[in-house]
């Protein structure tokens, strides 16, 4: 008990000091040397898209996004390595489960709509808020809905297809990076005339990969242990 109190006091002191330091730092924020929004808006016409955040994500700082999909892929690979044997899964096979009319009807209405929303988010990303991650997470949400309501998701359940889908974004992105380098430009420095099309291709591949990776992270989680008391 005494040890616990000491721990709380120490944690409180550390947290309050960090909070105070941050508070002070926010108060005395220095003036920046360059204006990033101005730099971005100057370069937008050459980026191939008209939405500034998408331009930063997929063109000016596309390196970040390349590493982001690499992180996602790594997470998926680690999850696959840690998953339990497929034979231990206790999921009821789709054919054997009880059908609920309301649930099935709802799912069959919702899933096409979710796919449509994902496509819209992907397409609108070049002009307005939206893009690969938003679209990919909607796709993953649709897949989770299908899984939780007991439907088989044939393409994702297929081992090879899901592996290819997971790596697709990374592979396409790397191909573009290597292609620009081979063409004598900087890494990921797209030709202005092609940049819009290249960004759309990369974003489409990213959407599929992000959707499948997020879903596989959900799907490969170990089963909830029975009789969890704590």
């Amino acid at each position: 008990m005494k040890q616990r109190l000491g721990r709380q006091l120490a944690a409180g002191a550390v947290s309050v000091s960090l909070g105070a330091a941050l508070w002070h730092a926010i108060g005395v924020r220095p003036t920046p040397l360059v204006s990033l929004p101005a730099l971005v808006s100057d370069a937008i016409p050459a980026s191939g898209v008209s939405h500034p955040v998408t331009a930063v994500l997929l063109n000016f700082r596309s390196y970040d996004t390349l590493l982001e999909i690499a992180v996602l892929m790594t997470a998926a690979v680690v999850a696959l390595a840690l998953r339990e044997e497929q034979t231990t899964r206790t999921d009821t096979p789709a054919s054997a489960r009880v059908r609920y009319v309301v649930l099935d009807t709802l799912v069959w209405r919702l899933v096409p709509l979710l796919v449509l929303v994902a496509g819209y988010l992907l397409w609108i990303g070049s002009k307005r808020p939206g893009g690969a991650f938003q679209a990919g997470s909607v796709l993953a949400g649709a897949a989770v809905l299908l899984r939780l309501s007991g439907f088989a998701i044939t393409p994702v359940d297929h081992r090879l297809v899901s592996r290819i889908a997971m790596t697709l974004g990374m592979v396409i992105f790397l191909c573009v990076a290597i292609g620009t380098a081979l063409a004598g430009r900087e890494l990921l420095d797209y030709p202005v005339a092609w940049s819009g099309a290249l960004i759309l291709v990369i974003e489409s591949a990213l959407t599929i990969s992000i959707g499948v990776v997020l879903f596989s992270l959900f799907d490969n989680a170990p089963q909830q242990p029975r009789g969890l008391s704590r």
Binding site: A10, S15, G19, I26, V78, L217
Partner: protein, 100 residues
């Protein structure tokens, strides 16, 4: 005070509160939640501070968007690790913390 600076201050408060929760709780799920809230606070500071009095700034917004994606996948991976740990050891904390 502009709304953007308010976001930054709220972010600072979230970081301090979640650091406390992270240090005090030993349950791994609580630690993970605290860590996520800390990430959220960092994102608020990043965007709020950069935009305070200068209007929208796409660069920190893009950085934070990338950060959110990475945070989500890291959280999912951490939950998988947690479940494996629980199945393996029937414990919700690490051995060093259990002893207390």
């Amino acid at each position: 005070m502009s709304a953007d600076r308010l976001y930054a201050y709220v972010g600072a408060a979230l970081v301090a509160l979640s650091l406390y929760a992270f240090l005090v709780h030993t349950h791994l799920l609580r630690r993970l939640l605290a860590f996520n809230v800390m990430g959220g606070g960092t994102f608020l500071i990043l965007v709020g501070l950069a935009q305070d009095g200068r209007g929208p700034d796409p660069v920190p917004q893009a950085l934070v968007l990338t950060g959110i994606v990475v945070a989500i996948s890291a959280t999912a991976l951490a939950i998988i690790l947690l479940r494996r740990w629980f199945v393996f050891s029937q414990a919700t904390a690490l051995p060093e913390d259990e002893a207390q």
